[in-house]
Protein backbone atom coordinates (compact mmCIF):
# COMPACT_ATOMS: atom_id res chain seq x y z
CA UNK A 1 0.00 0.00 0.00
CA UNK A 2 1.34 3.47 -0.77
CA UNK A 3 0.40 7.12 -0.65
CA UNK A 4 -0.21 8.25 -4.23
CA UNK A 5 -1.01 11.90 -3.65
CA UNK A 6 -1.96 14.37 -0.99
CA UNK A 7 -3.54 17.81 -1.09
CA UNK A 8 -2.62 19.88 1.95
CA UNK A 9 -4.44 23.01 3.02
CA UNK A 10 -3.28 25.67 5.46
CA UNK A 11 -0.47 24.03 7.31
CA UNK A 12 2.49 26.24 8.20
CA UNK A 13 4.12 27.31 4.90
CA UNK A 14 1.66 25.28 2.83
CA UNK A 15 -1.47 27.18 1.80
CA UNK A 16 -2.75 24.77 -0.79
CA UNK A 17 -0.43 22.25 -2.40
CA UNK A 18 -0.54 18.86 -3.97
CA UNK A 19 2.27 16.34 -3.85
CA UNK A 20 2.39 13.14 -5.90
CA UNK A 21 4.34 10.06 -4.98
CA UNK A 22 5.29 6.68 -6.38
CA UNK A 23 5.41 3.38 -4.61
CA UNK A 24 8.88 2.61 -3.24
CA UNK A 25 11.47 5.34 -2.91
CA UNK A 26 10.62 9.04 -3.24
CA UNK A 27 13.10 11.89 -2.75
CA UNK A 28 12.10 15.47 -1.94
CA UNK A 29 14.67 18.18 -2.55
CA UNK A 30 14.41 21.93 -2.08
CA UNK A 31 16.20 24.80 -0.40
CA UNK A 32 16.10 25.45 3.34
CA UNK A 33 12.79 26.75 4.61
CA UNK A 34 10.66 25.84 1.58
CA UNK A 35 8.44 23.43 3.50
CA UNK A 36 9.81 19.90 2.97
CA UNK A 37 9.60 19.04 6.66
CA UNK A 38 6.14 20.59 6.88
CA UNK A 39 4.88 18.14 4.29
CA UNK A 40 6.42 15.14 6.04
CA UNK A 41 4.99 16.23 9.40
CA UNK A 42 1.57 16.73 7.85
CA UNK A 43 1.58 13.32 6.20
CA UNK A 44 2.65 11.68 9.45
CA UNK A 45 -0.10 13.42 11.40
CA UNK A 46 -2.93 12.82 8.96
CA UNK A 47 -2.39 9.84 6.70
CA UNK A 48 -3.67 7.09 8.92
CA UNK A 49 -6.85 5.42 10.00
CA UNK A 50 -6.57 6.81 13.49
CA UNK A 51 -5.99 10.40 12.38
CA UNK A 52 -9.52 10.41 11.00
CA UNK A 53 -11.35 8.09 13.35
CA UNK A 54 -9.73 8.93 16.68
CA UNK A 55 -9.69 12.04 18.76
CA UNK A 56 -6.62 14.11 17.84
CA UNK A 57 -4.17 15.21 20.53
CA UNK A 58 -5.23 18.53 22.06
CA UNK A 59 -2.45 20.49 20.31
CA UNK A 60 -3.54 19.20 16.91
CA UNK A 61 -7.29 19.55 17.47
CA UNK A 62 -7.69 22.40 15.03
CA UNK A 63 -9.42 22.92 11.71
CA UNK A 64 -8.07 20.52 9.13
CA UNK A 65 -8.80 19.97 5.48
CA UNK A 66 -6.98 17.54 3.23
CA UNK A 67 -7.42 14.96 0.55
CA UNK A 68 -5.23 11.99 -0.19
CA UNK A 69 -5.20 8.84 -2.26
CA UNK A 70 -3.69 5.53 -1.30
CA UNK A 71 -3.17 2.60 -3.64
CA UNK A 72 -3.05 -1.07 -2.81
CA UNK A 73 -3.35 -4.41 -4.53
CA UNK A 74 -6.23 -6.65 -3.51
CA UNK A 75 -6.00 -10.42 -3.30
CA UNK A 76 -6.68 -10.69 -7.05
CA UNK A 77 -3.80 -8.28 -7.76
CA UNK A 78 -6.19 -5.54 -8.86
CA UNK A 79 -4.92 -2.02 -8.20
CA UNK A 80 -7.32 -0.30 -5.83
CA UNK A 81 -7.24 3.43 -5.25
CA UNK A 82 -9.02 4.96 -2.30
CA UNK A 83 -9.40 8.74 -2.19
CA UNK A 84 -10.28 10.34 1.11
CA UNK A 85 -11.35 13.93 1.58
CA UNK A 86 -11.45 15.03 5.20
CA UNK A 87 -12.53 18.29 6.77
CA UNK A 88 -12.69 18.94 10.47
CA UNK A 89 -14.07 22.22 11.79
CA UNK A 90 -14.35 23.70 15.23
CA UNK A 91 -17.86 24.62 16.38
CA UNK A 92 -19.04 26.00 19.67
CA UNK A 93 -22.20 24.37 21.00
CA UNK A 94 -23.57 25.33 24.42
CA UNK A 95 -20.26 27.03 25.17
CA UNK A 96 -18.42 23.78 24.50
CA UNK A 97 -15.75 23.55 21.83
CA UNK A 98 -16.61 20.67 19.56
CA UNK A 99 -15.80 19.47 16.09
CA UNK A 100 -17.75 18.44 13.04
CA UNK A 101 -16.25 16.14 10.47
CA UNK A 102 -17.05 15.72 6.82
CA UNK A 103 -15.52 12.74 5.09
CA UNK A 104 -15.83 11.87 1.44
CA UNK A 105 -14.66 8.57 0.00
CA UNK A 106 -14.26 7.44 -3.56
CA UNK A 107 -12.77 4.24 -4.84
CA UNK A 108 -11.50 2.91 -8.13
CA UNK A 109 -10.23 -0.48 -9.20
CA UNK A 110 -7.75 -0.64 -12.07
CA UNK A 111 -8.53 3.01 -12.88
CA UNK A 112 -12.26 2.38 -13.13
CA UNK A 113 -14.45 4.16 -10.59
CA UNK A 114 -16.11 1.61 -8.36
CA UNK A 115 -18.60 4.08 -7.01
CA UNK A 116 -19.17 7.81 -6.88
CA UNK A 117 -18.41 9.91 -3.84
CA UNK A 118 -19.71 8.62 -0.57
CA UNK A 119 -20.24 11.38 1.95
CA UNK A 120 -20.25 10.97 5.69
CA UNK A 121 -21.22 13.82 7.94
CA UNK A 122 -20.22 13.30 11.52
CA UNK A 123 -21.87 15.89 13.71
CA UNK A 124 -20.23 17.60 16.62
CA UNK A 125 -19.95 15.41 19.68
CA UNK A 126 -18.19 16.08 22.91
CA UNK A 127 -16.90 12.53 22.84
CA UNK A 128 -15.37 13.14 19.45
CA UNK A 129 -15.76 9.58 18.38
CA UNK A 130 -17.73 7.99 15.61
CA UNK A 131 -21.12 7.17 16.98
CA UNK A 132 -22.02 3.81 15.55
CA UNK A 133 -24.92 3.88 13.13
CA UNK A 134 -25.61 2.58 9.67
CA UNK A 135 -23.73 5.38 7.97
CA UNK A 136 -20.61 5.17 10.10
CA UNK A 137 -20.65 1.38 9.91
CA UNK A 138 -20.45 1.65 6.14
CA UNK A 139 -17.74 4.24 6.46
CA UNK A 140 -15.68 2.06 8.78
CA UNK A 141 -16.01 -0.91 6.45
CA UNK A 142 -14.78 1.08 3.46
CA UNK A 143 -12.05 2.68 5.45
CA UNK A 144 -10.90 -0.47 7.19
CA UNK A 145 -8.16 -1.16 4.66
CA UNK A 146 -6.24 1.79 6.06
CA UNK A 147 -5.98 0.13 9.46
CA UNK A 148 -2.91 -1.80 8.41
CA UNK A 149 -1.23 1.16 6.71
CA UNK A 150 1.65 1.92 9.07
CA UNK A 151 3.45 5.23 9.11
CA UNK A 152 6.74 5.91 10.84
CA UNK A 153 8.58 9.22 10.85
CA UNK A 154 12.30 9.74 11.37
CA UNK A 155 12.58 13.45 11.98
CA UNK A 156 15.69 15.56 12.65
CA UNK A 157 15.87 14.56 16.26
CA UNK A 158 15.77 11.13 17.74
CA UNK A 159 13.34 10.80 20.65
CA UNK A 160 14.51 12.44 23.85
CA UNK A 161 13.47 9.44 25.88
CA UNK A 162 14.52 6.24 24.12
CA UNK A 163 13.18 4.19 27.04
CA UNK A 164 14.78 0.80 27.39
CA UNK A 165 17.83 1.87 25.44
CA UNK A 166 18.93 4.57 27.82
CA UNK A 167 17.88 3.35 31.24
CA UNK A 168 17.63 -0.04 32.86
CA UNK A 169 14.33 -1.82 33.36
CA UNK A 170 13.06 -3.63 36.43
CA UNK A 171 10.82 -6.70 36.26
CA UNK A 172 8.75 -8.23 39.03
CA UNK A 173 7.54 -11.79 38.53
CA UNK A 174 5.19 -13.33 41.07
CA UNK A 175 4.56 -17.01 41.63
CA UNK A 176 1.52 -16.88 39.34
CA UNK A 177 3.83 -15.84 36.53
CA UNK A 178 2.42 -12.36 36.45
CA UNK A 179 5.03 -10.02 35.18
CA UNK A 180 5.23 -6.31 35.77
CA UNK A 181 7.87 -3.95 34.55
CA UNK A 182 8.58 -0.29 34.96
CA UNK A 183 9.38 0.06 31.28
CA UNK A 184 7.45 2.68 29.42
CA UNK A 185 6.37 1.92 25.90
CA UNK A 186 9.49 2.77 23.92
CA UNK A 187 9.50 5.36 21.16
CA UNK A 188 11.57 2.98 19.11
CA UNK A 189 8.96 0.74 17.55
CA UNK A 190 11.21 -2.28 17.22
CA UNK A 191 11.98 -2.26 20.94
CA UNK A 192 8.36 -2.90 21.70
CA UNK A 193 8.70 -6.02 19.59
CA UNK A 194 11.84 -7.00 21.46
CA UNK A 195 10.17 -6.40 24.79
CA UNK A 196 7.08 -8.43 24.02
CA UNK A 197 8.92 -11.34 22.45
CA UNK A 198 11.41 -11.39 25.30
CA UNK A 199 8.57 -11.93 27.77
CA UNK A 200 7.04 -14.69 25.67
CA UNK A 201 10.36 -16.39 25.13
CA UNK A 202 11.24 -16.14 28.82
CA UNK A 203 8.02 -17.78 29.99
CA UNK A 204 8.14 -20.51 27.35
CA UNK A 205 11.64 -21.37 28.56
CA UNK A 206 10.38 -21.66 32.11
CA UNK A 207 7.45 -23.79 30.95
CA UNK A 208 9.80 -26.16 29.12
CA UNK A 209 12.08 -26.48 32.09
CA UNK A 210 11.26 -29.83 33.57
CA UNK A 211 13.45 -29.37 36.59
CA UNK A 212 11.58 -26.30 37.67
CA UNK A 213 7.94 -26.29 36.78
CA UNK A 214 7.27 -23.61 39.32
CA UNK A 215 8.94 -20.30 39.27
CA UNK A 216 9.91 -20.56 42.92
CA UNK A 217 11.94 -23.66 42.01
CA UNK A 218 14.30 -21.54 39.96
CA UNK A 219 17.23 -19.90 41.61
CA UNK A 220 18.24 -16.35 40.88
CA UNK A 221 21.11 -17.36 38.61
CA UNK A 222 18.80 -19.52 36.48
CA UNK A 223 16.41 -16.62 36.06
CA UNK A 224 19.28 -14.46 34.92
CA UNK A 225 20.44 -17.08 32.40
CA UNK A 226 16.88 -17.46 31.11
CA UNK A 227 16.65 -13.76 30.49
CA UNK A 228 20.00 -13.56 28.71
CA UNK A 229 19.35 -16.63 26.58
CA UNK A 230 15.83 -15.51 25.82
CA UNK A 231 17.13 -12.24 24.50
CA UNK A 232 19.90 -13.84 22.46
CA UNK A 233 17.55 -16.21 20.69
CA UNK A 234 14.99 -13.60 19.69
CA UNK A 235 14.42 -13.57 15.96
CA UNK A 236 13.73 -9.86 15.94
CA UNK A 237 17.04 -9.29 17.79
CA UNK A 238 18.99 -11.45 15.34
CA UNK A 239 17.37 -9.88 12.29
CA UNK A 240 18.15 -6.45 13.67
CA UNK A 241 21.74 -7.43 14.40
CA UNK A 242 22.26 -8.62 10.81
CA UNK A 243 21.12 -5.30 9.44
CA UNK A 244 22.97 -3.20 11.99
CA UNK A 245 26.27 -4.97 11.37
CA UNK A 246 25.88 -4.36 7.64
CA UNK A 247 24.75 -0.75 7.68
CA UNK A 248 26.02 0.79 10.91
CA UNK A 249 29.08 0.72 13.20
CA UNK A 250 27.05 -1.49 15.60
CA UNK A 251 28.08 -5.11 15.09
CA UNK A 252 26.00 -6.70 17.84
CA UNK A 253 23.48 -5.98 20.61
CA UNK A 254 22.93 -7.79 23.90
CA UNK A 255 21.34 -7.53 27.29
CA UNK A 256 23.74 -6.25 29.87
CA UNK A 257 25.11 -9.47 31.48
CA UNK A 258 25.15 -7.87 34.93
CA UNK A 259 21.46 -8.43 35.51
CA UNK A 260 20.56 -8.56 39.19
CA UNK A 261 18.04 -11.22 40.21
CA UNK A 262 16.80 -11.91 43.70
CA UNK A 263 13.73 -12.99 45.67
CA UNK A 264 11.74 -10.56 47.75
CA UNK A 265 8.29 -11.01 49.24
CA UNK A 266 7.31 -13.99 47.09
CA UNK A 267 8.43 -12.22 43.99
CA UNK A 268 11.44 -12.48 41.77
CA UNK A 269 12.97 -9.13 41.03
CA UNK A 270 15.03 -8.71 37.90
CA UNK A 271 16.87 -5.44 37.76
CA UNK A 272 19.34 -3.64 35.57
CA UNK A 273 17.99 -4.93 32.29
CA UNK A 274 19.54 -2.70 29.67
CA UNK A 275 20.61 -3.13 26.08
CA UNK A 276 24.27 -2.72 25.14
CA UNK A 277 25.84 -2.19 21.75
CA UNK A 278 29.04 -3.58 20.35
CA UNK A 279 31.01 -0.91 18.52
CA UNK A 280 34.69 -1.33 17.63
CA UNK A 281 34.85 -4.53 19.69
CA UNK A 282 33.66 -2.83 22.88
CA UNK A 283 30.27 -3.16 24.56
CA UNK A 284 28.85 0.27 25.33
CA UNK A 285 25.52 1.64 26.55
CA UNK A 286 23.20 3.81 24.46
CA UNK A 287 24.50 7.00 26.05
CA UNK A 288 28.02 6.34 24.81
CA UNK A 289 27.06 5.91 21.16
CA UNK A 290 27.88 8.85 18.90
CA UNK A 291 24.95 11.01 17.76
CA UNK A 292 25.40 9.73 14.21
CA UNK A 293 25.31 6.09 15.33
CA UNK A 294 22.22 6.73 17.45
CA UNK A 295 20.44 8.23 14.47
CA UNK A 296 21.51 5.34 12.24
CA UNK A 297 20.12 2.90 14.80
CA UNK A 298 16.90 4.89 15.06
CA UNK A 299 16.49 5.13 11.30
CA UNK A 300 17.21 1.46 10.68
CA UNK A 301 14.92 0.22 13.45
CA UNK A 302 12.07 2.51 12.42
CA UNK A 303 12.45 1.33 8.84
CA UNK A 304 12.39 -2.33 9.83
CA UNK A 305 9.30 -1.81 11.97
CA UNK A 306 7.19 -0.85 8.93
CA UNK A 307 5.96 -3.95 7.20
CA UNK A 308 3.13 -2.42 5.16
CA UNK A 309 3.00 1.30 4.80
CA UNK A 310 5.25 4.26 4.70
CA UNK A 311 8.43 5.53 6.27
CA UNK A 312 9.11 9.28 6.22
CA UNK A 313 12.75 10.26 6.69
CA UNK A 314 14.01 13.75 7.20
CA UNK A 315 17.55 14.17 5.87
CA UNK A 316 19.08 10.68 6.31
CA UNK A 317 22.50 12.28 5.84
CA UNK A 318 22.46 14.05 9.22
CA UNK A 319 25.57 13.23 11.24
CA UNK A 320 26.51 10.35 8.93
CA UNK A 321 29.90 9.76 7.31
CA UNK A 322 29.71 9.77 3.47
CA UNK A 323 30.77 6.12 3.19
CA UNK A 324 28.19 5.13 5.78
CA UNK A 325 25.60 7.21 3.95
CA UNK A 326 26.26 5.34 0.68
CA UNK A 327 25.66 2.12 2.52
CA UNK A 328 22.59 3.47 4.34
CA UNK A 329 21.08 4.57 1.04
CA UNK A 330 21.61 1.07 -0.29
CA UNK A 331 19.66 -0.22 2.72
CA UNK A 332 16.88 2.33 2.14
CA UNK A 333 16.75 1.41 -1.51
CA UNK A 334 16.45 -2.29 -0.67
CA UNK A 335 13.76 -1.59 1.91
CA UNK A 336 11.85 0.51 -0.62
CA UNK A 337 11.11 -2.70 -2.53
CA UNK A 338 8.73 -3.61 0.28
CA UNK A 339 7.39 -0.30 1.57
CA UNK A 340 7.03 3.29 0.53
CA UNK A 341 9.86 5.53 1.71
CA UNK A 342 9.71 9.30 1.36
CA UNK A 343 13.03 11.01 2.05
CA UNK A 344 13.80 14.72 2.20
CA UNK A 345 17.42 15.61 1.59
CA UNK A 346 20.11 18.17 0.89
CA UNK A 347 22.69 15.51 0.12
CA UNK A 348 24.05 14.78 -3.38
CA UNK A 349 24.85 11.23 -2.23
CA UNK A 350 21.18 10.60 -1.50
CA UNK A 351 20.05 11.93 -4.87
CA UNK A 352 22.68 9.87 -6.68
CA UNK A 353 21.04 6.64 -5.54
CA UNK A 354 18.53 7.09 -8.38
CA UNK A 355 19.14 5.59 -11.81
CA UNK A 356 18.28 7.39 -15.08
CA UNK A 357 14.89 5.66 -15.31
CA UNK A 358 13.91 6.65 -11.76
CA UNK A 359 13.91 10.43 -12.09
CA UNK A 360 10.13 10.50 -11.65
CA UNK A 361 10.81 9.70 -8.00
CA UNK A 362 12.10 13.23 -7.36
CA UNK A 363 9.84 15.92 -5.92
CA UNK A 364 11.05 19.52 -5.88
CA UNK A 365 9.71 21.74 -3.12
CA UNK A 366 9.60 25.49 -3.72
CA UNK A 367 8.34 28.47 -1.81
CA UNK A 368 6.13 30.58 -4.10
CA UNK A 369 3.74 33.50 -3.52
CA UNK A 370 1.10 30.76 -3.10
CA UNK A 371 3.12 29.12 -0.33
CA UNK A 372 4.98 25.85 -0.66
CA UNK A 373 4.45 23.95 -3.90
CA UNK A 374 5.73 20.55 -4.99
CA UNK A 375 6.42 19.37 -8.49
CA UNK A 376 7.98 16.48 -10.29
CA UNK A 377 10.71 16.96 -12.90
CA UNK A 378 9.48 18.21 -16.29
CA UNK A 379 10.30 16.26 -19.45
CA UNK A 380 13.03 18.81 -20.27
CA UNK A 381 14.53 18.45 -16.79
CA UNK A 382 14.50 14.67 -17.08
CA UNK A 383 16.26 14.93 -20.44
CA UNK A 384 18.95 17.22 -18.98
CA UNK A 385 19.33 15.03 -15.90
CA UNK A 386 19.85 11.97 -18.07
CA UNK A 387 22.48 13.85 -20.10
CA UNK A 388 24.30 14.74 -16.90
CA UNK A 389 24.20 11.13 -15.77
CA UNK A 390 25.52 9.91 -19.10
CA UNK A 391 28.18 12.53 -19.84
CA UNK A 392 29.22 13.92 -16.46
CA UNK A 393 28.54 10.89 -14.29
CA UNK A 394 26.31 12.07 -11.47
CA UNK A 395 22.77 13.38 -11.25
CA UNK A 396 23.90 15.50 -8.32
CA UNK A 397 26.21 17.44 -10.65
CA UNK A 398 23.07 18.83 -12.31
CA UNK A 399 21.72 19.76 -8.89
CA UNK A 400 24.95 21.35 -7.63
CA UNK A 401 26.19 23.17 -10.70
CA UNK A 402 23.05 23.97 -12.67
CA UNK A 403 19.52 25.13 -11.95
CA UNK A 404 17.53 21.99 -11.26
CA UNK A 405 15.59 23.66 -8.43
CA UNK A 406 15.26 27.09 -10.05
CA UNK A 407 13.62 26.23 -13.35
Amino acid sequence: MFLKSIVVNNFRSIQNARADFDSGLNIIIGKNGVGKSNLLTYIFQNVSYHAIVSRPPRQRANNVEFEYSVCFNDTDENLNELTIYFKREKVVTNNELEYTRHIKLSKSVNDTALYGDKNFEIPATTEFSLSYNESTAEFLTEFDVLRKFQTQYVSFEIPQDPGWLAKSVKYEIDTEYNLESDMLIPHFAILLDLYLTLETNFFSRIAKNEAASKIEDLDAEQIKIFFLHSFDSLKVKNDLENVLSKYSPISDIRLNPNINTYYAENKILVENLIIEFRVNNAWIPWGHLSDGTKRLFYLITQCLSVTDGMLLIEEPELGIHPHQLYSLMQFIRDQANYKQIIVSTHSPIVLDILSPDELHRINIAKLTPKGTQFHKLSDAQIETAQKYMELVGDLSHYWLHSDLEDE
Binding site: T384, Y388, L391, V392, G393, L400, H401, S402
Partner: protein, 192 residues
Protein backbone atom coordinates in the same frame (compact mmCIF):
# COMPACT_ATOMS: atom_id res chain seq x y z
CA UNK B 1 16.52 39.77 -28.87
CA UNK B 2 18.90 39.94 -25.95
CA UNK B 3 22.37 38.56 -26.40
CA UNK B 4 23.32 36.11 -23.71
CA UNK B 5 26.73 36.46 -22.09
CA UNK B 6 27.69 33.23 -20.37
CA UNK B 7 30.01 33.42 -17.40
CA UNK B 8 32.31 30.72 -16.06
CA UNK B 9 34.60 31.47 -13.16
CA UNK B 10 36.54 30.01 -10.30
CA UNK B 11 33.87 30.91 -7.76
CA UNK B 12 30.58 32.79 -7.53
CA UNK B 13 32.28 35.94 -6.17
CA UNK B 14 34.49 36.22 -9.23
CA UNK B 15 31.73 35.82 -11.78
CA UNK B 16 29.34 38.15 -9.96
CA UNK B 17 32.05 40.80 -9.52
CA UNK B 18 32.94 40.81 -13.22
CA UNK B 19 29.28 40.83 -14.14
CA UNK B 20 28.66 43.93 -11.98
CA UNK B 21 31.67 45.62 -13.52
CA UNK B 22 30.71 44.88 -17.11
CA UNK B 23 27.09 45.90 -16.55
CA UNK B 24 28.30 49.45 -16.14
CA UNK B 25 29.08 49.52 -19.87
CA UNK B 26 27.35 46.48 -21.32
CA UNK B 27 23.83 46.35 -20.01
CA UNK B 28 21.38 47.04 -22.78
CA UNK B 29 20.08 44.16 -24.86
CA UNK B 30 22.23 41.64 -23.05
CA UNK B 31 21.62 39.24 -20.25
CA UNK B 32 24.24 37.52 -18.13
CA UNK B 33 23.97 33.85 -17.37
CA UNK B 34 26.10 31.89 -14.92
CA UNK B 35 26.81 28.70 -16.84
CA UNK B 36 28.14 26.54 -14.00
CA UNK B 37 27.18 27.17 -10.39
CA UNK B 38 29.09 26.44 -7.21
CA UNK B 39 32.37 25.56 -8.87
CA UNK B 40 35.85 25.98 -7.39
CA UNK B 41 39.00 26.86 -9.33
CA UNK B 42 40.57 23.41 -9.35
CA UNK B 43 37.38 21.86 -10.74
CA UNK B 44 37.66 23.89 -13.94
CA UNK B 45 40.38 21.54 -15.14
CA UNK B 46 38.24 18.41 -14.74
CA UNK B 47 36.75 16.65 -17.71
CA UNK B 48 33.36 16.45 -15.99
CA UNK B 49 33.30 20.26 -15.73
CA UNK B 50 33.99 20.45 -19.45
CA UNK B 51 31.12 18.05 -20.11
CA UNK B 52 28.89 20.11 -17.80
CA UNK B 53 29.78 23.20 -19.78
CA UNK B 54 28.81 21.54 -23.05
CA UNK B 55 25.41 20.54 -21.63
CA UNK B 56 24.78 24.01 -20.21
CA UNK B 57 25.80 25.68 -23.49
CA UNK B 58 23.23 23.56 -25.28
CA UNK B 59 20.56 24.54 -22.76
CA UNK B 60 21.33 28.20 -22.16
CA UNK B 61 22.63 29.02 -25.64
CA UNK B 62 25.05 31.83 -24.79
CA UNK B 63 26.17 34.12 -27.66
CA UNK B 64 29.56 34.53 -26.07
CA UNK B 65 31.27 33.04 -23.03
CA UNK B 66 33.56 34.82 -20.61
CA UNK B 67 35.96 32.61 -18.70
CA UNK B 68 37.42 34.12 -15.55
CA UNK B 69 40.53 32.56 -14.05
CA UNK B 70 43.32 33.52 -11.70
CA UNK B 71 46.89 33.06 -12.91
CA UNK B 72 48.13 32.71 -9.32
CA UNK B 73 51.28 34.45 -10.45
CA UNK B 74 52.44 37.95 -11.43
CA UNK B 75 53.13 39.02 -15.02
CA UNK B 76 56.72 37.79 -14.96
CA UNK B 77 55.66 34.22 -14.09
CA UNK B 78 55.14 33.29 -17.72
CA UNK B 79 54.74 29.56 -17.10
CA UNK B 80 51.66 30.06 -14.91
CA UNK B 81 50.11 32.44 -17.41
CA UNK B 82 50.88 30.06 -20.24
CA UNK B 83 49.24 27.14 -18.40
CA UNK B 84 45.97 29.07 -18.11
CA UNK B 85 46.08 30.16 -21.73
CA UNK B 86 46.66 26.59 -22.79
CA UNK B 87 43.67 25.45 -20.68
CA UNK B 88 41.50 28.05 -22.38
CA UNK B 89 42.75 27.09 -25.83
CA UNK B 90 41.95 23.42 -25.25
CA UNK B 91 38.50 24.21 -23.90
CA UNK B 92 37.75 26.59 -26.76
CA UNK B 93 38.31 23.80 -29.25
CA UNK B 94 35.51 21.82 -27.65
CA UNK B 95 32.93 24.59 -27.68
CA UNK B 96 31.11 26.07 -30.60
CA UNK B 97 30.61 29.39 -28.85
CA UNK B 98 32.86 32.48 -29.25
CA UNK B 99 34.63 33.02 -25.96
CA UNK B 100 37.20 35.13 -24.23
CA UNK B 101 39.42 34.62 -21.20
CA UNK B 102 39.84 37.16 -18.42
CA UNK B 103 43.09 35.99 -16.91
CA UNK B 104 43.54 37.88 -13.68
CA UNK B 105 47.18 38.48 -12.96
CA UNK B 106 47.61 36.87 -9.64
CA UNK B 107 43.90 37.01 -8.72
CA UNK B 108 40.67 38.96 -9.04
CA UNK B 109 41.57 41.32 -6.18
CA UNK B 110 44.31 42.83 -8.35
CA UNK B 111 41.54 44.76 -10.12
CA UNK B 112 40.58 46.40 -6.82
CA UNK B 113 44.01 48.07 -6.87
CA UNK B 114 43.17 49.52 -10.28
CA UNK B 115 40.50 51.68 -8.60
CA UNK B 116 41.75 51.64 -5.02
CA UNK B 117 39.86 54.79 -4.00
CA UNK B 118 36.65 52.77 -3.61
CA UNK B 119 38.33 50.31 -1.27
CA UNK B 120 40.00 53.09 0.72
CA UNK B 121 36.69 54.88 1.14
CA UNK B 122 34.77 51.78 2.30
CA UNK B 123 37.43 50.28 4.57
CA UNK B 124 38.92 53.61 5.75
CA UNK B 125 42.37 52.63 4.50
CA UNK B 126 44.98 54.71 2.69
CA UNK B 127 46.44 52.19 0.28
CA UNK B 128 48.60 53.85 -2.35
CA UNK B 129 47.20 53.95 -5.90
CA UNK B 130 48.97 54.24 -9.26
CA UNK B 131 50.63 50.84 -9.01
CA UNK B 132 51.05 48.45 -11.91
CA UNK B 133 48.58 45.82 -10.75
CA UNK B 134 50.31 43.09 -12.74
CA UNK B 135 53.19 43.17 -10.28
CA UNK B 136 51.15 42.83 -7.08
CA UNK B 137 51.80 39.48 -5.45
CA UNK B 138 48.95 38.07 -3.40
CA UNK B 139 46.67 41.12 -3.63
CA UNK B 140 43.97 39.46 -1.54
CA UNK B 141 46.42 38.88 1.30
CA UNK B 142 47.48 42.50 1.10
CA UNK B 143 43.89 43.72 1.44
CA UNK B 144 43.37 41.41 4.41
CA UNK B 145 46.61 42.64 5.99
CA UNK B 146 45.67 46.27 5.48
CA UNK B 147 42.32 45.86 7.22
CA UNK B 148 43.33 43.39 9.92
CA UNK B 149 43.28 45.97 12.70
CA UNK B 150 40.44 48.06 11.35
CA UNK B 151 36.78 47.86 12.39
CA UNK B 152 35.75 46.77 8.89
CA UNK B 153 37.79 43.85 7.64
CA UNK B 154 38.07 42.72 4.05
CA UNK B 155 36.60 39.32 3.09
CA UNK B 156 36.59 37.64 -0.29
CA UNK B 157 32.81 37.70 -0.28
CA UNK B 158 32.88 41.53 -0.22
CA UNK B 159 34.11 41.55 -3.82
CA UNK B 160 30.77 41.78 -5.66
CA UNK B 161 29.67 44.83 -3.63
CA UNK B 162 33.06 46.46 -4.12
CA UNK B 163 33.00 45.85 -7.85
CA UNK B 164 29.52 47.34 -8.02
CA UNK B 165 30.99 50.63 -6.84
CA UNK B 166 34.22 50.56 -8.84
CA UNK B 167 34.71 52.62 -11.98
CA UNK B 168 35.20 50.40 -15.02
CA UNK B 169 36.81 53.19 -17.05
CA UNK B 170 39.46 53.63 -14.38
CA UNK B 171 40.13 49.91 -14.43
CA UNK B 172 40.41 49.88 -18.19
CA UNK B 173 42.91 52.71 -18.09
CA UNK B 174 44.91 51.38 -15.11
CA UNK B 175 45.02 47.68 -15.95
CA UNK B 176 46.44 46.54 -19.27
CA UNK B 177 45.11 42.98 -19.19
CA UNK B 178 41.60 44.10 -18.28
CA UNK B 179 41.69 46.67 -21.11
CA UNK B 180 42.67 43.95 -23.56
CA UNK B 181 39.93 41.67 -22.21
CA UNK B 182 37.27 44.38 -22.43
CA UNK B 183 38.18 45.15 -26.04
CA UNK B 184 37.82 41.48 -26.87
CA UNK B 185 34.38 41.31 -25.27
CA UNK B 186 33.22 44.32 -27.29
CA UNK B 187 34.63 42.80 -30.44
CA UNK B 188 32.89 39.47 -29.87
CA UNK B 189 29.57 41.11 -29.07
CA UNK B 190 29.63 43.32 -32.13
CA UNK B 191 30.43 40.31 -34.30
CA UNK B 192 27.25 38.55 -33.13
Amino acid sequence: MNKVIGLVGENPNDTLSIRYLLEKKIATKVSYELLIKNIRGHQLDHNRTKETLKIECERKKPDIIIFIRDADGICTQKDKIEDCKQWHKELSKQLNVPNVLLLNIYELEALIFADIDVFNRIYKTSIKGNRDVTFIEEPKEELIRQTRKLPKKYCESDCPELFKQMNIDKIISNCSYFKHFYQNVEKLLSAQ
